[in-house]
Symmetry: C2
Subunit: 152 residues, 2 copies
């Protein structure tokens, strides 16, 4: 399904919050007080982002995460790539799996090449969308609004 995973959304939200608090060490708890997200899963995602080198972690009592680069150098593509792998878009062209022998149609596939082209474009779009552009557009939203949601 042509859709981003929830994990990716969580990651983006977390990164946006990290960017807003530029430089500060931010705990998962704080992120989940800002947005009504499952704490544990967000932690999972942050861990993956740290593995991918997008954020740095500080352990201990006042620990948390910080951006590893400036928001200008952090793209949507980086996040997607870190959390979902490069977008294959088709079953073949996937650098990861290729299990089960791959697609039988491949040698005669007429749609492989055109779809590959679409994939490249999509990827370019993602890589040209920086975290900065996500933050700036919402820097003026009211922060104090009590959402009053109950999930976790």
């Amino acid at each position: 399904m042509l859709q981003l995973t929830k994990r990716t959304e969580y990651g983006l939200l977390a990164l946006v919050h990290l960017a807003e608090r530029e430089g500060a060490v931010v705990s998962v708890r704080e992120i989940c007080e800002r947005y009504p997200l499952p704490r544990r899963t967000v932690a999972e995602v942050l861990k993956e982002l740290q593995h991918a080198g997008l954020v740095d972690s500080t352990r201990g009592s006042n620990g948390g995460y910080t951006l590893a680069r400036t928001p200008e150098l952090l793209t949507l593509g980086d996040v997607v790539s870190a959390l979902e792998g490069a977008p294959p878009l088709t079953t073949c062209e996937s650098p990861i799996v290729l299990k089960g022998g791959g697609c039988e149609v491949q040698p005669m596939c007429p749609i492989k090449s055109p779809i590959h082209r679409v994939r490249e474009r999509l990827w370019q779009m993602l890589e040209h969308t920086t975290l900065r552009s996500l933050v700036s557009k919402t820097a003026h939203v009211p922060l104090g609004a009590p959402g009053a949601v109950e999930s976790n």
Copy 2:
């Protein structure tokens, strides 16, 4: 996962074949002799495409499917839309589901708007890719190549 479903690929392959045999009534059997695909599932897909008005069906002994429009007017977007619904890209912005009450973050979501923008772009790409462009690029491939695949 940012990926097209196999059903969509099957649909595209079928449509390409229909386009190649312009106007002719083509049976599912013939498509599956051309490409090594699970016959039954392709039939399922064709049925969906017919429901969406992309192909016409003819019943009976010499029955099969034909394109409902010319390849120039049939876009990748039409196919994806028919088989997967419009690409939501995010959990919200999905015109179909919205079950479970939708996303709790929505009222304060900083990434909704930018991602929506990406989605629009993607959608435009898909809608500007016609079936014709898929066919023409492979009109010269050798058709008699015996792939020698065993599935189905």
